[in-house]
């Protein structure tokens, strides 16, 4: 196995892929439901969100849909990372994660030196999520990794 491939498929990723966290549905309402598509490969994800309006906290999150190991693992890790977090913290995490993914994408096309993105990453603890950084070497797979995050962002935006 080439080291290249192991960069992509880190152990923690394969673990989330094999045992995805927070699979299931939530009752709508009170929860909200948001669908995401990856137009390139046909993957679909559904994010159920339960936000406590008092504390503005994501009290529960459930995930449905299918996808490749990267998409599944990223979704699972995302759900674990934002569950129990405030909406603000979740948004910060989304920005940080997309920065992690897109630094390379932008450099490739010569538009950005990544400095704006770096500021999005500052002070955010990504933890396990950093394992997904290997994805940036495989540009097509970035959309696999970001699908659930974009869907989460859309879900947060659409809340009342």
């Amino acid at each position: 196995m080439s080291s290249n491939l192991e960069d992509l498929y880190r152990e923690v990723i394969l673990d989330h892929y094999r045992s995805p966290r927070n699979r299931g549905e939530l009752e709508v309402p009170p929860a909200t439901k948001t669908d995401g598509f990856n137009p390139l490969c046909g993957d679909e994800v559904t994010v159920y969100l339960q936000v406590d309006p008092e504390t503005d906290t994501i009290v529960d999150i459930k995930i449905q849909g299918q996808g490749c190991s990267i998409s599944q693992a990223s979704t699972s890790m995302m759900s674990a990372a934002v569950k129990g977090q405030s909406v603000d913290e979740a948004r910060k995490l989304i920005r940080a994660f997309k920065a992690l993914m897109s630094i390379h994408e932008h450099k490739l096309e010569g538009e950005s030196d990544g400095s704006d993105l770096a500021s999005d990453l500052e002070g955010v603890r990504l933890g396990d999520l950093e394992a997904l950084q290997g994805v940036v070497k495989f540009p097509v797979r970035i959309k696999c990794a970001t699908l659930s995050w974009n869907t989460l962002a859309q879900g947060l935006d659409e809340r009342g």
């Binding site: 290249n4 490969c41 046909g42 993957d43 190991s69």
Partner: protein, 410 residues
């Protein structure tokens, strides 16, 4: 024993000499787009290096050479599909634009609310979305021919489905299943209902001898890039009477006879449907691609692909009991596109591991989401073959798949 001298052919394709991840590339994605032989690259380069100019209007030698080369490309493409006249061959960007041209021009002039267009569940988005746009805009009804459990067109309700239809828009070969549809009887059935027939021949023309007259088709769409030709050009063939009656699609230079402040009149066929500077050099490259295919002979091309497909189907099913192939097992009714699922491993992950072995396959919905939903899968892997592929490459695919199996084993 192949009927083609594949080793010699491989030598004609510079891209097949490419090394990826330390291994010679195994290109099994020709159904998405084929590689190009030297002769095609040279034909295009030669034009740019000495006979390039805009076409049709220049009274000087380079412009005359460019025009002759461009129109010569048209004549070759027309004759390759058995078109009665090169005037019926309209150059467009790709098969997708060809179908949209029909939907916009013929469709908007002829279809009214309630009129029926029949497509099938195995259509590429190119032959679905233009009709859905017309359905949304005009209220036409879209009817679907289903697919059987053995991945063939389900014709059980053909007559009822065609009842009241104005158009049957159908693929000659599925880019997912590989299934070949027998166009002539479908055209006869459609014509008996006074419906016209549009054939999406994108996957067919590159691989089998095509005769639009024998099909008795009304419209035929296809692209150069899947048949050794360049990107950026495709064609619509249609019967002359239809093209003459149809309103123009895109407006601009070249498609006019006269323009006054208060209106314009259209040019003769085929230019009536070609607005603006066409894909000049691409038409020349396409002509060279056709010369290459004709030198091999389309019967030999088909024969080679049938054998290779048989070999691949056997190799995959023998080695991997857990493989699920979406397409007919009978190679006489299919082309060389083999879609499969492998255990529960997602097509993207398969493809990624294969890439480490320099094996190139496609992964995803193959622009056929309605079909994928019928099959109940979000994505498949697809290996597809062309004149330059070998049994050794199929073996390389098998080896790479075995590695994916190991890597993702739960």
């Amino acid at each position: 024993m192949s009927s083609l001298d594949v080793e010699r052919i491989r030598g004609d394709f510079p891209a097949l000499q490419r090394v990826v991840n330390g291994r010679p590339v195994v290109f099994l994605d020709s159904a998405a787009s084929a590689q190009k032989p030297e002769s095609v690259l040279r034909a295009m380069d030669d034009i740019y290096r000495g006979s390039y100019a805009n076409v049709h209007r220049g009274v000087y030698q380079m412009a005359e050479e460019a025009t002759a080369a461009f129109e010569n490309g048209r004549a070759k493409v027309a004759s390759f599909i058995g078109a009665p006249s090169r005037d019926e061959l309209i150059f467009v960007r790709n098969a997708t634009e060809a179908i949209n041209l029909v939907a916009y021009s013929w469709g908007r002039a002829n279809l009214r609310a309630g009129d029926v267009v029949v497509v099938s569940h195995m259509e590429h988005h190119a032959n679905v979305v233009p009709w859905q746009m017309l359905a949304a805009e005009r209220g036409i009804e879209l009817r679907w021919l289903p697919v059987t459990d053995d991945f063939r067109l389900d014709l059980t309700n053909l007559e009822a489905t065609l009842d009241g239809a104005r158009l049957l828009a159908i693929t000659a070969m599925s880019n997912v299943l590989g299934t070949i549809n027998d166009i002539r009887p479908l055209a006869d059935a459609a014509h008996a209902h006074d419906a016209l027939v549009l054939v999406d021949a994108c996957q067919y023309v590159p691989h089998l001898r095509t005769d639009v007259a024998a099909w008795d088709a009304d419209f035929v769409a296809f692209s150069a890039h899947k048949m050794l030709g360049p990107s950026g050009i495709g064609a619509l063939w249609a019967r002359r009477e239809l093209l003459e009656a149809m309103p123009p699609f895109l407006g601009g230079g070249e498609m006019i006879r006269d323009v006054r402040l208060d209106g314009f009149t259209t040019n003769d066929l085929p230019w009536k449907f070609e607005a603006g500077t066409p894909a000049i050099v691409e038409a020349v490259g396409w002509g060279a691609a056709i010369d290459y295919l004709e030198a091999l002979g389309m019967d030999a091309v088909r024969d080679h692909e049938e054998r290779l497909t048989r070999y691949a189907l056997d190799a995959l099913t023998d080695r991997f009991p857990q493989i699920n192939i979406y397409g007919p097992q009978d190679v006489s009714v299919r082309g060389g596109a083999i879609s499969f699922l492998f255990d529960d491993i997602h097509a993207h992950d398969i493809s990624q591991v294969l890439d480490q072995h320099a094996v190139c396959v496609r992964a995803g919905h193959h622009c056929a989401k309605p079909l994928m939903r019928q099959l109940g899968v979000p994505a498949t892997s697809r290996a597809s073959f062309y004149i330059y592929n070998t049994e050794a490459e199929v073996d390389a695919l098998v080896v790479a798949l075995a590695e994916a199996e190991t890597f993702f084993k739960v």
